[in-house]
């Protein structure tokens, strides 16, 4: 069986959200901290509106293969809510923890008016039923506030680290940023990361009016 401390993390989203880069950044910081890391990426259609999923598996003892078996994710980091549900259906289990962005990116069938997107209530309900803990983060809104929608993924990383779901501190990640980012990008990314950490500290599941009731009920949903 899996050794203590080993972790299966799945980062999911759609093409263009920075999924692959984000997972790479997490992996680099973990490798620097002495972990074995394997990342498997599914991104055949990354630039063309397709689903993009990265499996990140870490261990102190020995590297794992690039794919998490079905039903064996420990943590799901979702950059897009429908993609979070898609992964949850295949890789979820009673113990899984979910941190997901709340902002939808519509599939072509929805954008063209042929299909509908799940409501926020349906999403929250599914998260509560299928995970042990879940956070819904308005990462895209926060990123837009910061003036750069692309850093939504870094807000999500802040939330993931802030929730204590990776065996590393916020300081270790900030150090990782300092080593890998240019000065002009560093400031924005640090801001985005810290906002994500703060979202978790505030314990808010979501501040959208439609989900207010559900949010109050659930803090992080249990």
């Amino acid at each position: 069986m899996k050794a203590k401390g080993d972790l299966n993390v799945i980062v999911t989203g759609v093409g263009g959200q920075g999924n692959v880069l984000l997972t790479q950044l997490i992996g680099q910081v973990l490798v620097r901290a002495g972990y074995h890391v394997t990342i498997g990426e599914t991104y055949g259609s990354s630039q063309r509106g397709g689903s993009v999923m990265s499996h990140l598996r870490l261990s102190r003892q020995a590297p794992y293969g690039p794919l998490v078996p079905y039903g064996r994710a420990d943590v799901i980091l979702g950059l897009e809510p429908m993609e979070t549900l898609r992964v949850l259906g295949q890789y979820g289990n009673r113990g899984v923890t979910v941190v997901t962005n709340s902002r939808p990116s519509y599939p072509l069938a929805v954008a063209s008016g042929m299909a509908s997107y799940p409501t926020i209530e349906e999403i929250v309900d599914a998260l509560e039923r299928l995970s042990s803990r879940a956070w819904l983060i308005d990462a895209t809104d926060i990123a837009l506030e910061l003036g750069a929608p692309i850093v939504a993924n870094i807000v999500m990383l802040g939330a993931l680290v802030g929730a204590g779901l990776l065996p590393l501190t916020t300081e270790e990640f900030e150090m990782g940023f300092r080593e890998s980012l240019s000065n002009e990008r560093l400031d924005l990314n640090l801001k985005a990361f810290r906002r994500g950490v703060k979202e978790i500290e505030a314990g808010a599941m979501t501040d959208r009016p439609a989900a207010e009731q559900l949010a109050k009920k659930s803090g992080p949903a249990t």
């Binding site: 069986m1 899996k2 759609v14 790479q24 992996g27 680099q28 490798v31 972990y35 074995h36 890391v37 394997t38 990342i39 498997g40 990426e41 599914t42 991104y43 055949g44 259609s45 630039q47 063309r48 509106g49 397709g50 689903s51 590297p63 794992y64 293969g65 690039p66 794919l67 998490v68 078996p69 079905y70 039903g71 429908m82 549900l85 898609r86 949850l88 259906g89 295949q90 979820g92 289990n93 009673r94 519509y106 599939p107 072509l108 069938a109 929805v110 954008a111 063209s112 008016g113 042929m114 299909a115 509908s116 997107y117 799940p118 349906e122 999403i123 599914a126 039923r129 299928l130 929608p149």
Partner: protein, 638 residues
Amino acid sequence: MNIVPLEPVVARLLMGNEAIARGAVEAGIGFASAYPGTPSSEIIGTLAKVAKDADIYVEWSTNEKVALEAATAASFAGVRAVVAMKQNGLNVALDFLMCVTLPGTNAGIVLIMCDDPGALSSTNEQDSRPAAKWAELPLLEPATVQEAKDMTKWAFELSEELKIPCLMRSVTRLSHARGDVRLGESELLAKEARFAPSPPQAYLSTPFIEKHNILHEKIDRAREIFESSPFNWYAGPERPDLLIITSGSGWYYSLEAVTVLGLEKSVGILKLGTTWPLPERLVLEHLSRTEKVLVVEEVAPFLEGNIKELVGETLSLFDRLTFYGKRSGHIPSSGELNPDLVIQAVSAVLGKETAVDHDYASEAQKLTGQLVQPRRLSFCAGCPHRATFWSLNNALKLDGRGGFVMGDIGCYTMAVGPTGWNLLETNLSMGSGAGMACGFGKLDRFGFRQPVLAVCGDSTFFHAAIPALINGVYNQSNFTLLILDNGATAMTGFQPHPGTGVTASGEPTPSVGLETLCRSLGIEVEVVDPFDLEATTQKLLNLMDRGGGVRVLISRRECALVKAKTQRAAYKMRVDRDKCLGRNCGCARLCTRVFLCPGLIWDNQGQTAKIDEATCTGCGVCADICPASAIIREAASP
């Protein structure tokens, strides 16, 4: 990532293809060539970035055969060389590969074949490994990112020792995986090139029979070396109830299956890194200690067949031996492998249940299944291909004679689906659209009257469409070739090609002009901007109507993703909600339902079309398709 200055010993997170590139750098290569193809492209792409630092000549060749020929020249002259290609590319290079085996090579030369099980980004899912047996060349299969680096480095020594090219097979799940890699020192080879065959003309294939026999001796020597290779190992009990023999990506999945099922004490894994020629003594030794064998490998039963062949020759050694694998149906014979498929196979062979929480799994699948929608692929917002295919669709309908389009390989292959109005009838091999058009265009004597069109991209044109075009001219075929010139090999990551005026390492170079080349063949060539829908449609109609001989239309617009890197949007788009009649317009939502640009969405609340400002690239094309003139182009703010 710049892989050259990375210090040895320290672990770094590398992509499988970066690890292969690093292995080549550590081996002291001086020459690298390839034609891009998923999942192989990052190998040469990574080397191109460090060409100066590592003193390597790196090129994007026009096709895989030229890439292999060029690299072989470096080997002949004493410089180590690496060539990389996807499985389809290997077919292009095979003609040369199958012959260079006879004279053999000089300095180490390694051919990396990257297979795409499941055809995630390919037109087939062929297994490249039988090529090693067919060509009689040694084959290595790395299982981990670390091994990809280590094995690549060693492959050059092996090639140099045996004086033949060494083949290495990767798959998507290795090439596009990332893992921590402990780096090694780089060999400090004096890179000096000199062509001095010894004896003279040593690189001729003659005398054939003698050289064929020498090739067999080389393969026998490879087998001997493989018997004690550190890339083959066994883990498990001395007499396992089940022996798993596996290679490449199958190894991690097998390990996972044994661990998940808690079978460490009863199931053993023989992991082979050197799979052709088979290290026979090693395999026989392990076969003799079990009665059940499961072979786990990706795509074809290559290893399985070779092991059975060996057992067939040594039947007297075995009382009882049962094989499980692809032939028995325990491992699928098509599609990608994954840990769950191997868990199922091991469970089935040993009659053991897997621990699955069925209640949770069925609720999770039911609940999410109701909520999630598939994500269909589409051309990017602002993609010139969407505009070209829009005009092509209209032109075919206006022409009305049953004209049809042969497809080819590139981003535009997506026009097999709704994003390109299902216009493409084929997507087979590079350049095959033009080749098949040649044939259709000669069927008139049998009553054939339909207009024939073929499309290909600019890079595909250079790769394989030129001989077909010349064939069409020579044999007076009757078709229109549409070259979709977006200025890059976009599908595989925007690599430059002979038409771009830039080399792999970013140096300026003369560009080969598409129209100059075509006109030199005596072909009538028209050039059009696909964003001008009216002119494109009219030119297509004219060319189809003309009949007789080969015509070329070059549809030229830079790839939207490339353009976005350096230029701002041409227009700011908006929908005039007073003018948009929504469902009441006779257009039946032409823009959001048919044109299918991700930048243009249906607003269910407002019941009109709407621009998605985060996605729209401001190309302005949709303004021309709206019959109510409700989509407005405005000057983009500077």
